[in-house]
Symmetry: C2
Subunit: 291 residues, 2 copies
């Protein structure tokens, strides 16, 4: 499974490079594209784009048809990481073991590179002639809903406005659903749209809600327990900032149990899908990473 | 003409308010929408969105059909102003006589509000059921091209990377064409797309190139000569930062002459358009503002 995930992740990385190759290295504004490439190539597991291509494949489309959309979603995710790392936000100097974008290029260029990545995501989808105009509009609507005030950016707003304040569990779950959950739901929905299986969107949403919350809870647990070297950033940086997390409110064991329960739910949904071996393995893998 | 411009500008403002009313004031993330509204309502002349609606009207569409797109473009313009004012960019505490977004809401919320405005622009276009799927895709492609690395954001990159360095006139004109020109060209092109007059795009581009450069040169002249109170920000803030401007390189008189020459060119193009009285007056007005 890990080999297959690495293969698919490499396919995403290679397509991202292709999409970024349109920008001229000799242009006076080339440092912006350089900063975009730097952060895009910092890697990560490419979970979101792999979900896009896999949902497209499972529901009768192809992975290839969903490849540009998948990369668009990864651009959005990367834009959010660049802006999240800025001094006025989380002030993180490292990301995945490398200097964060603003440490490498300066705050001004990091700001602009994040802006440009969000922008390029919409450009890439609107330019994808393999998809019908209707599909492209639906994909852009789906992505912009997931990113906006009632999605990822709203979740970040709740996060930054509540540093150091007592968080009740309801607000925490709302923040998770928006900050991390929205892009994961969007990934699965985009796959359905690429396959023109709009009927599968409600079920894929249910799967993605379970997976998204489990994924976030595991991130929180990792942040507390994981080896600094493995993560490439100081352990406990979130709790240092007095941010509320699921394990901080409910305890680590309860958090692990919740993640396991959610993954069971996700696996049950997936078991009803056609040819879902990889998706099922991926779901299990996401629960068992590194702790 | 000014009365008519004010009427049209008010129509844009009113539609912006309507588009922003979808965001719940009681939601925990509401401060993000509040910051977006704050900067959107700070005003300005709404030149870009008025161009969108007017190009649509002139070429046989209606102003109303282009209203949402026009507002999307104004959201993009406003997003760029919010991020431009941030301490890591121009570090401006005031914008149009009011505290800039980050002075009012903090840097973190200003960053997120800018991100959300860019995002909402694409959302608004993709959701506009008065336009065909093809029109929406073309509009999003047009807008994202204008905003991205080879457009506005690229122009800002050239700007921030060259503070205090000698600027040759070629680089200056390239920066202007990207930083300010791209959105103005986009405005006119979006109007053509709303009217489904794709054949008029080349001519509207030519008009917009002339208008956009004239507009930027006049901004530079105003920055040097205008009364502080009128502009609502300290005079000479750009030259304080050693930024290259057209009048700084060529002198104020040459700059005024160039702006006049470009406006003549723009007016000549407009004179060939149907029912172009307002557009012609608007073009003249933009050359003669406040100096």
């Amino acid at each position: 499974m890990i080999k297959e995930l690495e293969k698919r992740s490499a396919q995403i990385t290679s397509h991202l490079e292709k999409l970024m190759s349109v920008y001229d290295d000799k242009a006076p504004q080339s440092v912006c594209a350089e900063a975009m490439r730097y952060s895009l190539s910092a890697g990560g597991k490419r979970i979101r784009p792999v979900l896009v291509t896999e949902f497209s494949r499972i529901f009768g489309g192809t992975a290839e048809k969903a490849l540009s959309c998948a990369c668009a979603l990864e651009m959005i995710h990367t834009f959010s990481l660049i802006h999240d790392d800025l001094p006025c936000m989380d002030n993180d100097d490292f990301r995945r073991g490398k200097p964060s974008c603003h440490k490498q290029f300066g705050e001004d260029i990091a700001l602009l590179a994040g802006d440009a990545l969000q922008n390029y995501a919409f450009d890439v989808i609107s330019s994808d002639d393999d998809l019908s105009f209707e599909q492209r509009v639906r994909l852009i609507k789906c992505l912009s809903d997931a990113v906006g005030v009632n999605g990822m950016i709203g979740g970040q707003t709740i996060d930054v406005k509540n540093v150091g304040k007592p968080f009740d569990s309801e607000l925490l779950l709302k923040m998770y659903s928006m900050k991390t959950g929205a892009l994961i739901r969007c990934a699965c929905e985009m796959g359905c749209i690429c396959a023109e299986r709009y009927d599968m969107i409600p079920s894929s949403d249910e799967y993605a809600c379970a997976l998204g919350l489990a994924f976030q809870i595991i991130d929180d647990i990792l942040d507390i327990t994981a080896d600094e070297k493995l993560l490439g950033k100081p352990v406990n940086s979130d709790s240092d900032m007095n941010k509320a997390t699921y394990p901080a409110i409910f305890g680590i064991e309860a958090a692990k149990a919740k993640a396991a329960e959610l993954t069971d739910k996700a696996l049950e949904i997936v078991s009803g899908y056609p040819d879902s071996g990889f998706l099922s393995e991926l779901t299990k893998y996401l629960l068992n990473r590194e702790y």
